[in-house]
């Protein structure tokens, strides 16, 4: 194993020696001379010691050496590296020019660095979330299984999971492709009772074979191996913070959600399992679920592939198995697939990928604007140096040589920009890491720091941009019209050079328009989202989830009694206006759904609806308006006619133009069709940004669920109420704790997190883009005006007014800006169409945005050209004529 490494090290040291010889050519020559001199001196001294006179000794030494000059030449010749040397000469040449104008070089590098920094920051986040393998795992071998289902299924997080009973069926049916199939489920909070304290820690419920499947050995002790072992593995961090790294932790009994379990292992430092969440305990699934064959515990299956089994083969086996093993009640599995494990392995990979692709595209636009800006500057410089170029060409320098020098200049600027940009990316990722994530998410472990892949990306992007944008001005500048260029350094501008520069300015304006359009659309989405009519009144409502299912397994009647008592206690709290239960917390991202239809008119078809089971007073607590009929009462219980409240959207779908009150609706949750007793106004249910969704409310007393969320309206007393609710729950059952307490109003903000994030990022990019574009226009027109000072002076002398001159110059800028704006609008329209999934409440071609942004950019552009125009008109004709 060591030999090839040594080979590489040796080769590298050899390469380093060669590069040194080329890059520090003079130093190498000096060293060579010194070495030879030393040799001759030593030899001379030796000869003198042998008795030769000084002069003779020296002559003899030279003769033994055998022609100093000849050997020097051989050595120099051998030091040459075929491609490196001319390249290095170009670089040195370019550097000499840049050093002559360091301010320009620095400003240019900083400008491009903005683009590189933006791009690299976004790629760094994308890398962390989508590409980088999870720590300590062999990502080639590990996959997760996902199903797509129809029927009475939950969507959101819960819907992505697969019942553990079914995972076990998979295990048996896919043994040919998986060496081991395990499963895990993240739990935001376990209550861990230690000797001195009780702490809430995040962790994962896992199948017994979890660590074996992942191929990870605990750093200390062992892993549990049975699904129902009363044992846990703790994280290295928890071991450090709460057990002072005492090896005696092994075998200690701790309390976990009211049960006693034994710590049998400490995970390696940095291990988070097959997720991106900071976990502190790994717990066998049996601790939570009593019946492991049942459907009540849902998990993410994670399997390790057998040696030689590819992902495609595993996918085929999993898909076949999915159809042959029993499905959950009321669901059909349409397909199953395997996915690589990455940070976003379970939920919304497609959305996250799209979101980051969009951000990356925006960042690349910033880079393009910056590069076009600098290309314009280099172009102007190129024309200013026409005479120099012409001289060099005239005395016989090959055009390719001249192009190479100019390109080397650009590449040096880009190389400097790359370094600065990576520095900016470090700042950018630090800023990103500081953005608070929505509180509902489990503690997310995101190490955003750029790694080697990110640095390679930055190098490739910067290099490519540098070559493309350096080549154009270099090619242009290396082809001057020799005769006029030699005659005068400031010959009147030709049409050709103007076109290229106008192109770069127009490109910047259009890219800036595209960027700002997208940024504004995001901002408008956010604004719409914040203003959206939620269909309920979120202010002053808090909620918390209580699970009476496994492991406590309340009987149905006992659960109802518990909840009745809880509502009674909570309603009596000071400041509480009303309290009720609901199966789901609105806007929390969780939902279950199924098909609803009219038994009396099957031809109207089945509508997919979302559903939640609620208690009386829920509508009052949430401030949901009933536009027809009534809400639930205590009488809507078992034995009575099944009833539902539907929302306006469903009413319009199933009974367009009619009153649905008293009509029957067929759905999977009650055994017989239920009577519609009320219609709730339209609202948002799962996400702030969803389309109008048909919704069915069921009566809790008819369709009970063990896990319910208590909702309390207590304006002004939210925090105290949540604490009081937690106390009340503990008093009713000491083994119970509330989960995920939330202020409903916060969920609105959480739901808009991607929009806020997108608006901030793209908005920042847009502003940078606009500033760069304005500088670009200003720069190019200033240069243009300076070049034309004499011509303008002539025109003034011939009677053109100052205003006329201003109008001409500004008009030129305005024309370029107008064309740029139009192209930018086209590009922006295409982009908005692509990104429409991330927009909300506005049309992709939002008229306000598509009017305001181009006008703004146009005005800025005209202003940027008006400033130099003013300057030009202020020059006295006599002065202008005297120039040159």
């Amino acid at each position: 194993v060591t030999v090839p490494t040594r080979g590489i090290v040796a080769r590298l040291s050899g390469v380093a020696a060669r590069v040194r010889g080329v890059v520090f050519r003079r130093a190498a020559d000096r060293e060579m001379d010194e070495e030879i001199r030393f040799h001759i001196e030593m030899e001379t001294e030796k000869n003198m010691r042998a008795g030769m006179p000084g002069h003779e000794a020296h002559r003899k030494a030279l003769a033994t050496f055998g022609g100093v000059e000849r050997h020097r030449e051989t050595l120099r010749e051998a030091r040459r590296v075929p491609l490196l040397e001319p390249f290095w000469l170009d670089v040195r040449f370019g550097a000499r020019f840049l050093v002559r104008d360091p301010a320009l070089a620095l400003v240019a590098a900083l400008t491009i660095a903005l683009g590189v920094g933006a791009t690299t920051t976004v790629f760094s986040a994308l890398n962390t979330v989508l590409i980088r393998p999870l720590p300590l795992l062999d990502s080639n071998r590990l996959v997760s299984i996902q199903e797509s289902r129809s029927g009475a299924v939950s969507t959101g997080l819960e819907g992505m999971l697969i019942a553990y009973g079914r995972v076990q069926q998979y295990r048996a049916a896919t043994a040919s492709v998986f060496e081991s199939l395990s499963a895990h489920r993240l739990e935001a909070s376990f209550s861990l009772r230690l000797a001195d304290a009780t702490v809430a820690v995040s962790g994962a419920l896992t199948a017994g074979n979890y660590f074996r499947t992942l191929g990870v050995q605990p750093a200390l002790g062992r892993s549990y191996s049975a699904d129902d072992a009363a044992e846990i593995v703790i994280s290295h961090e928890l071991w450090s913070t709460h057990f002072a790294r005492d090896p005696g932790v092994l075998g200690q009994a701790v309390g976990l959600d009211g049960k006693t379990v034994t710590v049998v292992g400490v995970a390696p430092a940095g291990f988070v399992g097959a997720t991106f969440v900071t976990n502190h305990v790994w717990v066998p699934v049996g601790v939570r679920s009593v019946s492991l064959e049942s459907w009540d515990i849902r998990m993410v299956p994670v399997g390790s592939l057998r040696e030689g089994v590819g992902r495609a083969q595993a996918a085929a086996a999993v898909d076949a198995a999915a159809r042959s093993i029993p499905a959950e009640p009321n669901t059909t599995v349409r397909a199953a697939r395997v996915d690589a494990l990455s940070t976003v392995a379970v939920v919304g990979r497609a959305e996250v990928t799209g979101f980051f692709a969009l951000l990356l595209g925006m960042a690349l636009l910033v880079l393009l604007i910056a590069a076009a800006n600098i290309a314009g500057v280099m172009l102007s410089r190129g024309f200013a140096r026409r005479r120099e170029m012409a001289v060099r060409l005239a005395i016989g320098a090959g055009r390719s040589r001249v192009v190479r020098h100019l390109l080397a200049e650009s590449l040096l600027i880009f190389a400097l920009a790359g370094l600065l940009g990576v520095g900016l990316a470090y700042l950018g990722t630090a800023w990103l890491a500081g953005i608070p994530l929505p509180p509902q998410l489990p503690p997310v472990l995101l190490d955003l720091e750029p790694d080697l892949r990110v640095l390679a990306f930055a190098a490739v992007v910067t290099g490519t941009t540098g070559v493309v944008f350096g080549l154009v001005p270099a090619l242009k500048a290396s082809r001057p019209d020799l005769v006029p260029a030699l005659k005068s350094a400031t010959a009147a501008s030709t049409a050709g050079e103007g076109r290229t520069r106008n192109f770069f300015v127009g490109a910047q304006v259009s890219l800036a328009v595209t960027l700002l359009l997208t940024g504004t659309l995001f901002a408008r989405s956010l604004q719409q989202g914040l203003r959206a009519d939620l269909g309920f009144d979120a202010d002053g409502v808090v909620a918390a989830t209580i699970d009476l299912g496994a492991p406590l397994d309340y009987e149905r009647e006992r659960a109802r009694e518990f909840y009745r008592a809880l509502i009674e206690r909570v309603s009596a709290l000071p400041g509480v206006q009303s309290a009720a239960l609901s199966q789901y917390i609105l806007l929390s991202g969780s939902r279950s759904g199924g098909g609803a239809s009219r038994p009396d008119a099957p031809e109207t078809g089945t509508t997919n609806v979302s559903v939640s089971s609620v208690t009386p007073r829920y509508f009052e607590t949430m401030g949901i308006e009933l536009v027809a009929g009534r809400g639930f009462t205590d009488a809507d219980a078992d034995g009575a006619v099944p009833v539902v409240v539907i929302n306006q959207t469903l009413a319009d779908r199933l009974w367009p133009g009619e009153s649905p009150i008293g009509r029957l609706v067929q759905q999977p949750w009650t055994s017989q069709p239920a009577e519609v007793i009320g219609v709730a106004s339209e609202g948002r249910y799962t996400f702030v940004t969803e389309e109008p969704t048909p919704f069915v409310f069921l009566s809790y007393l008819q369709v009970s669920r063990p896990e319910m969320a208590i909702h309390v309206r207590a304006p002004g007393a939210e925090a105290a109420t949540l604490e009081a609710v937690a106390d009340a729950v503990r008093q009713l059952d000491p083994n119970l704790a509330i989960r995920t307490p939330v202020w409903i109003a916060d969920l609105v903000g959480t739901g808009l997190f991607p929009h806020r994030f997108g608006a901030q990022m793209v908005g920042a990019f847009g502003i940078v883009g606009v500033i760069l574009a304005a500088i670009g226009i200003y720069g190019v027109l200033s240069y243009h005006v300076t070049r034309r000072t004499r011509e303008l002076g002539v025109r003034r002398a011939l009677g053109a007014t100052g205003a006329r001159v201003v109008r001409d110059v500004t008009g030129r800028g305005g024309f370029i800006a107008a064309v740029g704006c139009l192209i930018g609008m086209l590009a922006g329209g295409v982009l908005a169409h692509v990104a429409r999934g991330f927009l909300f409440g506005i049309r992709p071609l939002d008229p306000l945005t598509f009017t305001a942004v181009p006008i703004l950019l146009f005005v800025i552009s005209v202003f940027a050209s008006w400033v130099p125009a003013r300057r030009a008109s202020a020059v006295a004709p006599s002065e202008a004529l005297r120039m040159d």
Partner: protein, 111 residues
Amino acid sequence: VTEPQNSDVVRGTLDLLILKTLSMNPNHGWGICQRIQELSSGILDVNHGSLYPALQRLEHRGWITSWWGTTENNRRAKYYRLTSEGLSGFKREAASWRRYSGMVDRILEAT
């Protein structure tokens, strides 16, 4: 320029001799020359100048590295030493040289 046949050490052999010398001690160019002459009891008279291209070649191959040091007489000199890659390369080449020269010996001594 013609040189005496007996002192014209062929290029590959010169490399081998340099490696052998350096495998015993790091040394500077002149020192290497002296060692080679000493070890060959003055029979092999290396053309001193041709040593340096050989050293540069070996350095570019990564078999030896160089640094500036001071001699016992406090003179600045460029020193060379073997890299680990150079050491194993030397062993390989030495072995193949022995096989080759052994074979030539056997042929020359055949009766």
